[in-house]
């Protein structure tokens, strides 16, 4: 697969379309599955891993002849990739950070639209993932359920009637499902209500993480809400649990935005304009600062405070200014300080005047 080509596009999750896409960035469902006749990864020998990898690669790649996956599914040997390429796949959310940093035989099967990714030899033998732009858990579930059925027809999954799908970690056993929705919540952060929101989500056993799984002060005000429990509730019930809370969060965020517009429009407008100004003129800028400022700009575009910029362009800047993307686009390896200079130059090129249109896929 040509990662260089991939680097130029936005990928599915930052496409910036789909229902409620001003606040909901993407909907994602993951399933953890294991083969019945091999030990879990932590206990697998190198030859087990090679064998698991070989079997699963062959079975999953063959799916391109079946049903909705007609077209190409592409296998990427993650072990053989350069570090920058592994990080690149993490930035695009096609593999987990753990998968990038692990040792031993491992890979990922990706569809060119980047909606489907199947990690092989991660913590479990298989981690299926389907991602949709905007709020669309129903479509994500339909697709991943079908993918799971297709794979299941070709292998025997580790499953028992009592505990369901058996996983390496008991926190995933049962359905093996992780349903998550990524939201952009800058106004709740500015009005300092975000912690209150987290606490109430934790009470109903939903987890909150940042964009790349980090702690409570998430980069760029992106937050992922996901289910914590996987056993004792059906897939539909678990999806509903997440789906039910999202409209409430969207409503809170909208109320917070209304409040800011009503009570302190000048302050808000000033914040947005300054952020835009810095991004258009900076000569060196870190990834964190970029994310922070782009977050204000993104909200500014959604609230009509910035009129010469579109959301897909802003989304593209979010991903293209990440360290590995920046290096892929520049075509050279860069250290931190060179990256900060290149990032600033990239932002100036794309935010001033002759801006190339964002790739809408």
């Amino acid at each position: 697969m040509d990662l260089q080509e991939l680097a130029k596009s936005n990928g599915e999750w930052l496409r910036g379309s789909g229902p409620q896409s001003d606040i909901v960035i993407s909907s994602r469902i993951r399933l953890a599955r294991n083969l019945a006749d091999f030990p879990f990864i932590a206990r697998a020998t190198d030859s087990d891993r090679d064998e698991i990898g070989r079997i699963l690669r062959e079975r999953v790649e063959k799916l391109h002849v079946a049903g909705r996956f007609a077209g190409q599914l592409i296998y990427v040997d993650v072990r053989a990739l350069e570090e920058v390429d592994r990080k690149f796949l993490v930035e695009r959310q096609l593999i987990s950070r753990e998968h990038a940093e692990a040792d031993g035989a491992r890979g990922v099967v990706i569809d060119p639209r980047e909606q489907v990714s199947v990690m092989i030899n991660e913590e479990d033998h298989l981690r299926l993932q389907v991602m949709k732009s905007g709020l669309d858990l129903t479509a994500a579930w339909e697709q991943i359920n079908e993918l799971d059925d297709l794979i299941e027809a070709r292998v025997t999954y580790a499953y028992n009637d009592r505990f369901g799908y058996l996983t390496a970690c008991p926190t995933n056993v049962g359905t093996g499902i992780r349903v998550s929705v990524m939201l952009h919540l800058p106004a709740l952060v500015i009005t300092r209500q975000i912690d209150k929101v987290f606490r109430s989500l934790q009470k109903i056993s939903l987890a909150v993480r940042g964009l790349y799984g980090e702690g409570s002060q998430a980069t760029g005000d992106f937050y992922q809400i996901s289910n914590q429990v996987t056993l004792g509730l059906s897939e539909d019930e678990l999806i509903k649990k997440v789906a039910d809370v999202v409209p409430v969060l969207i409503d809170y965020e909208r109320q917070a935005r209304d409040f800011l517009i009503r009570e302190s429009q000048e302050t808000l407008h000033d914040r947005v304009s300054r952020a835009y100004g810095i991004l258009r003129t900076a000569q060196t800028i870190s990834s964190e600062e970029t994310m922070h400022l782009l977050s204000s700009v993104r909200m500014g575009v959604n609230l009509g405070l910035i009129n010469d910029l579109e959301i897909p362009t802003v989304n593209q800047l979010f991903i293209h200014t990440q360290p590995a993307h920046l290096q892929k686009l520049a075509g050279v390896e860069l250290d931190t300080s060179d990256r900060n200079i290149e990032r600033a130059a990239y932002l100036r090129r794309h935010l001033n005047g002759d801006r190339p249109r964002a790739d809408h896929n």
């Binding site: 294991n34 019945a36 006749d37 091999f38 030990p39 879990f40 990864i41 932590a42 206990r43 020998t45 030859s47 087990d48 913590e123 359920n145 799971d148 059925d149 299941e152 027809a153 070709r154 025997t156 999954y157 580790a158 499953y159 028992n160 009637d161 009592r162 505990f163 369901g164 799908y165 058996l166 390496a168 970690c169 008991p170 926190t171 056993v173 049962g174 359905t175 300092r192 912690d195 056993s205 993480r209 940042g210 799984g213 980090e214 702690g215 409570s216 002060q217 429990v229 996987t230 056993l231 004792g232 509730l233 059906s234 897939e235 539909d236 019930e237």
Partner: protein
């Protein structure tokens, strides 16, 4: 007054109790915010939390002897001991859910609030789960035989594995 943690003006004056003694803190809004709502360390979430949960759960109603005996329980299929699982927070093979079922149940109740699966069932269930786990055991034994340079045993184990594998290939 300046914030004790940075140079901004202190607007929050907090009295915190440390070991029963009052401790005066003067912080700016940002630092007070951080102090009052400390960031959750997400990275440490899965492993130590799991180990902690296990330790917590096992500490209740288990004597040291019982715990020691439990820790020595070994899965006959993959060879993992319960102690190894407690340390790593990761199980060794699907059969662990059978052989450690009674130990896992209270842990699962703690994590999920439930102990029985509800939801999707694979259409093609492992008709013979024993045969599946047998393969895991045989491969492990073969590797051990090779390490011990017992090639005769290794070769008979390899034949056994191939027989099961090819019988399965025909079925699928």
């Amino acid at each position: 007054m300046k914030c004790q943690k940075c140079d901004k003006p202190a607007t929050f004056h907090i009295t915190d109790l440390v070991d029963g003694k009052p401790n005066e803190l003067h912080l700016c809004e940002d630092c007070a915010h951080k102090f009052l709502a400390p960031a959750v360390d997400e990275a440490s979430e899965s492993l130590p939390a799991m180990a902690g949960l296990l330790a917590q759960h096992l500490a209740v109603g288990e004597t040291a002897e019982e715990l020691a005996r439990l820790d020595e329980c070994t899965c006959p299929v993959c060879g993992i001991t319960f102690l190894e699982f407690r340390k790593q927070g990761r199980l060794g093979c699907p059969h662990d859910y059978v052989c450690f079922a009674n130990e896992l149940e209270p842990l699962l109740l703690n994590i999920h609030g439930e102990t029985r699966h509800v939801g999707k069932v694979p259409k093609r269930c492992a008709s013979n789960a024993e045969q599946q786990t047998q393969l895991i055991r045989l491969r492990r034994q073969m590797k051990e035989a090779v390490t011990a340079e017992d090639y005769e045993r290794a070769s008979s184990l390899r034949d056994e594995i191939r027989t099961i594998e090819s019988a399965r290939e025909i079925k699928t």
